[in-house]
Structures are given as structure tokens and as C-alpha cells.
């Protein structure tokens, strides 16, 4: 978060996303792990890099001094302290020792089952949301040219 070069930050983001994907795989969450790689590393990072390239034109690579007042640092630090304190202090967590590992081969199947049985409704809402985002992105990014004509 402290790098000045945008491309470097984007690459670091991609690396940490890959790292997260590995953690997911280590947590027996195969489905999510691969989705993470496909969606985040494959699509989101690329999108960000594109956006950087599209907007870079006038900007000096070593942008201006970037850290705003310390307030941001203080707030984020406080949030982290609270979260870490909560996690470490809470007894309930240490009692959860972890179930014997789920049978990995069934996980993906079960997720699929859940998606079309219990969670149909959210799934449909997601479909709507993606449609809306698609329409929106197209309108926002492309109409410019029509307007210029």
C-alpha cells in the first residue's frame, strides 16, 4: 500500500490474491480457490492494469506524495487492533479445533447442490446484478463517443 508506482501496486495486489488463493486451497476450499484465481487474478487484475494504462497519460510515474494525514493510519491501526484483540481474546475460537477434514471430492458437488437448491434466489439476484453491472459499464464507458459525435 505504500508503493508509488501504480503498476507495481497492481502487481503486488495480484501476487497477494494468488497467495490468498493458495490459502484457500490449503483450507480445502478447492472451488473457491480456483474461482479466486480465475476471477481475481485472471479478470480483476487485468482490468485494473487496463484502467491504469488508460488513465496514465499525464501522470508522472512517481505520483505525488501519497499518504494523507495520519488519520487514515490511525483509524486503520485502531481497526486492526480491535479485530486482532477480539480474535485473540475470544475463547470460543480456540475451542473450535477444526472438524476432521471434509471430503474434498464432495465439497465442489455440495456447493453446486446448495447453489441451485437452498440458494437459488440469491443466485438469480446475482444474475440480475451482473446484467445491471454489464449494462451500466457499457453505458458509462461507451456512450462518450456517441456524445462526441
Amino acid at each position: 500500500m505504500s508503493l508509488r508506482n501504480l503498476v507495481h501496486s497492481a502487481l503486488c495486489l495480484a501476487v497477494s490474491l494468488v497467495g490468498l488463493a493458495l490459502i484457500y486451497l490449503g483450507l480445502d476450499a478447492e472451488f473457491i480457490g480456483w474461482i479466486q484465481i480465475l476471477v481475481y487474478v485472471g479478470a480483476v487484475s487485468i482490468l485494473i492494469v487496463f484502467a491504469i494504462l488508460l488513465t496514465r497519460g499525464t501522470e508522472a510515474p512517481a505520483g505525488r506524495i501519497t499518504f494523507a494525514p495520519w488519520s487514515g493510519l490511525i483509524i486503520a491501526g485502531a481497526v486492526f487492533a480491535t479485530l486482532a484483540w477480539t480474535v485473540i481474546k475470544s475463547k470460543a475460537l480456540t475451542e473450535i479445533t477444526g472438524n476432521p477434514s471434509l471430503d474434498v471430492s464432495f465439497v465442489v458437488k455440495n456447493i453446486g447442490g446448495k447453489l441451485v437448491a437452498e440458494y437459488v434466489l440469491p443466485l438469480q439476484v446475482m444474475g440480475l446484478l451482473l446484467t445491471a453491472a454489464l449494462i451500466g459499464a457499457v453505458i458509462i464507458a461507451l456512450h462518450e463517443r456517441k456524445g462526441l459525435k
Binding site: I32, I48, L83, L129
Partner: protein
Amino acid sequence: MTPGLNHYLVVSGLLFSLGLLGVLGRRNLLIIYMGLELMLNAGNLALVSFSRFNGNLNGQVMVFFTITVAAAEVAVGLALIVALYRKRQTAHVEDLTTLKF
């Protein structure tokens, strides 16, 4: 020592705070987006690890939805940045000053 739930949660808390730091502290819109992505990912990590340690798959389903939402948000967000850039030649928050009184 194998990592326990606590360790995963601390990592996810750290990610969340780093993302928040990026959102609050930086002034470039793209970096702010990256910070937001990091925060969403922290939530996902917490969900996955809870899901694993509670033996409950619902958490992973939730992660699936979150990832979808994040992708949609990024798409719209980057479209907005590009549109803004075409208009103003900037991607910095300080330059968003049209709406002040």
C-alpha cells in the same frame, strides 16, 4: 505447528486493515479500488476459514456471491474511472471538487 483458526483470522484482520489504510490514506482512485478489493478479500478469507473450521459449506457459498459482487463492482468502478479520466484528465480524489458548496 499447524495454523489454527486464530491465525487465519489475524491474517484476514490484517488484510482488512491494510485495505482500509489504502482506502483512507491514498489519494489515487485506482489504489482506493485496490484497497477495497483487499478488504473484500479479507472478508472472504474469514468466511472460508470459518467455513472450514465449522464444517459448514454455507460460508463458501457466501464467498461465491462476494466474489461475483466484487467483480461487478470493479467493472462498474473502472468504467467510471475511465469516464472521469476522459472528462477531467485525473484519477485523484482531490480533484473531485465539483460538488462542494
